[in-house]
Amino acid sequence: MKPAAFEYHAPRTLEEALGLLEEHQDEAKVLAGGQSLVPAMNFRLARPAVLVDIAHVPDLDRIDEADPASVTIGARVRHLDLEHNTIAGPLGSLIASTGRWVGHYPIRIRGTFGGSLAHADPAAEWCALARALDAEIHCRSTTGERTVGAGDFFEQMAFTTCLEPDELLVGVRLPRLGDSWGVGMAEFARRWGDFAIVLAVAAVERDGDSIAGARIALGGVAGGPVRAANAEALMAGRPATAETAAAAAAAAAEEVDPTGDIHGSADYRRDLVRAMVTRALDQALA
């Protein structure tokens, strides 16, 4: 469990980092918190010839709240800082309650938001959150910046995104949620801190006693995070009740097409979708 040999760079500026990525292309890997990349290197599942450590690139560790309509989370903001965020309103509480579920405390100290998205584990909490809120993901290279919606960022295949080898994920823009929104997050894992078998992130906008719109993202049921579109559609306009939540959960269980592994068969995951969506919506409607 020793990595293959690699070259290590610790650029001090964004330009320098992007230059290195351009120079080495798919020989290079960005090193952020290292909580996924380093284990993969130790197993020699990943064997980058060049590591570009972004630890010293300025400004990537900031949460930018200047815009009244959105919040932009820098790529290198740690899981733990998000768990303890001070973002106002339902968005802040959804980020906090989702962050608690990411791995264990030592992992949350080092692992980063951008790293989680770039790594794109099908059961990653942040990926589901980004998908639920239609996050806008800022990707930079020496040739400029492009912004990709979460729906296009994650590919069908696990651990795959639209990031080009020379691109750095620099930040993620999330819409603020007003007081008409309720949020919820539920996850089932074998043990505390394990990757989810199934997780659900929900945000529901109320219009009085009825539901104006709902966003439900699921992890652990496909190659990437997915939206439960039928369940969302079913909720719109219906009363904000436990019955609606249950009906939506049933619809979500129906529309997913999970594959099984040793921790859970496809059928079991489907049942878990129903349980997790119910729980997440119950919180959101509470």
């Binding site: 469990m1 043990r191 921790h263 068969s265 079991y268 049942d271």
Partner: protein, 763 residues
Amino acid sequence: MIGESVPRLEDRPLLRGEGRFVADISLPHQLHMRVVRSHAAHGTIESIDATGALAVPGVAAVWTGVDVSDIAPIDFRQVGADQMVPYRQPILAQERVRYVGEPVAVVFATDPYTAEDGAEAVILEVSELAPVLDTTGPLGDFDGRLDTEAYVFTEQTGDVDAAFARAEHVIEAEFGVGRHTGVPLECRGALAVHHRTTQTLEFLGAAKVPFQNRDALAAMLGLPPSRVVLREAHVGGGFGVRGELYPEDVLVALAALRLGRPVKWIEDRHEHLVAANHSRDQRHRLRVATDDSGVIEGLEVEFVSDQGAYVRTHGATVATLAAAMLPGPYRIPNYRVTGRVRLSNKTPAGTYRAPGRYESTFVRERALDAVAAELGVDRAEIRRRNLIAPTEMPFERGIDALGTAVVYDSGKYEMMLDRVLGHIDYPALTWSLAERRAAGELVGLGIGFFVEKSGLGPFAGSRVEVDPSGCVTVTTGEASVGQGFETVMAQICAETLDVGLDRISVVHGQTDQMSYGMGAFASRATVMAGTATHDASLALRQRAIEVAAEMLEANPADLELVDGAVRVAGSPTRAVSLGEVASALGPASPYADGRPGLVTEEWYLTSHMNYPYGLHAGVVALDADTGSLSIERYVIAYDIGRAINPMLVEGQIVGGAAQGFGGALFEDFSYDEIGQPQVTTFMDYLMPTAAEMPELEILLSEDAPSPLNPLGVKGAGEGGTNACGAVIAAAVDDALDRPGAVTSLPITPERLHALCRSSPATA
């Protein structure tokens, strides 16, 4: 001092980061070994090409099977038999590979990174054969001549057929326990060096059984035993797994000899999970004959142990213990058991904490619950009716295990049952759980009784020596795997010599410090080495008083040993310290009289084990939506005769229980249909963490001291683990109101979810 929960002597270095585990030790010019392992579960080796590896700069040598074909396979340390000899493991695969992870080649290089680069470049070609993955199915082929059933044995006592003929009820059942094992925090490791000046091979990183491994290594390498020195450093957990002689150990020793440089090997976790002994994995089929009141008249069991690809050092130990200990605390006068040790194409198996008993307690206690359900008798009451009474002690089971007859030395089983039922307020608890179930909750209680075994003989020695400063050294050939051995030996010695623990140091696991030793297994170290240390300390006290009497010109009968000094009772100023006595015993001193030094050595011999016993009771709550289970309450009562250090005993119980829950709920080495292990990292091998552990209620008792040793002590290492599987299963049945629902372990959330969905309670 005995009976006090003093802090561990071991903690000071360990907590300060001053521990010396084998990975912490390095020698100049050492080479690092990396093992190339089979990627195929079963097949004939077509070729192994090492040219790529040899071309890696820094690689010093590469060996494959042919290079070590002169070295015999690793022999049995325990419970061997002629039939099993052909199934022993060679140190590198010869002609065939039989499990994923089997060593096929080794690469030696100047650093571990280069060694791994080299290992990657070795190309193994295998022509694959169909693997055997289900040992309850048809037997497979081992080597073209032998099939995969390595060993079959039957034990019996009483007249089983007659018991079944007259039985009023006969209950049949099948139960299984999954494949899991001990996973010490410290992986395995070894560092060997051949000292040319002294013609001695020194081997660091030994654990558990250094003396037996010294003898085995000496025999395999053709060296005189006195020229092979094994040393135990700090050991980060044993659990039965760590310290057995494995192929890697022999390869390290052989390489140090042949390559003329120190050779170091540190196992990584990925290797550990496919290479170190697996355990459990038994399937039992049984028939129980009872009378109308539920008294068990007869028990017939047939079981299969999935031994994995080879029979390792433990021979048939696990199966033998499962068979011998299956009847547990119950009288069961007529009993017949057939055990089958069968090979599969999985990692070979050995002992793991409560070997054979975790399995057989699960089977027996499930059977008792089945009897209770069948006859409509309360589960505690059915046990009470079958318990062996104190007046029947010593109780001869009529069966042998580990070369000795199973004779329970002492036990007050019913007293423990009453204590636990009182502690949990059984009627009230049962009632309140029923109420909660009626209100829709899935909550239930399980109980499980068991007898453990400990203190395996036949011998342990201890030498106690005082130096002229009054410092005491206790030397034994026994071993520490991190269980607090040093503290316990020091406490026993301090009790007799009345010296502070800070004045005592304990030497263990160094084969050049003692002529004989056995080691840390079978919950034997405290019982055996403790008794020897107790005896040696008493002898030393006697000797000190004798010599002091001459020095003080006093009558020995008037002398007492207080605070590390011998003094005249009533006139404390007339005293000599133990250090002064030691000083006065130089070889030429008149006091010595041919026996220089203040030193004594005693050997404790016993041909019988002793038998601690315990009872677990647990309450679980199930979540039908997800199949998750939480342990609301868990009580462990354990009688070990005498607790030298109750805190350490509780530590043993808590850690043991965590492992028991692991096997009950989480840990499972599964394989796919071509024999690829599915569980090779901690992402998939799920051990319970602190978050999954309930607060345990521990009821230690000393009702039944062992009559077999002067301290009355029994072993404490395995009772925390023993009944966890049985109790969780019983509690799940109860929560679902469905006796017999759980028939196998582990009870994963998915299985539990399916059980919930098919149970009337949740319909």
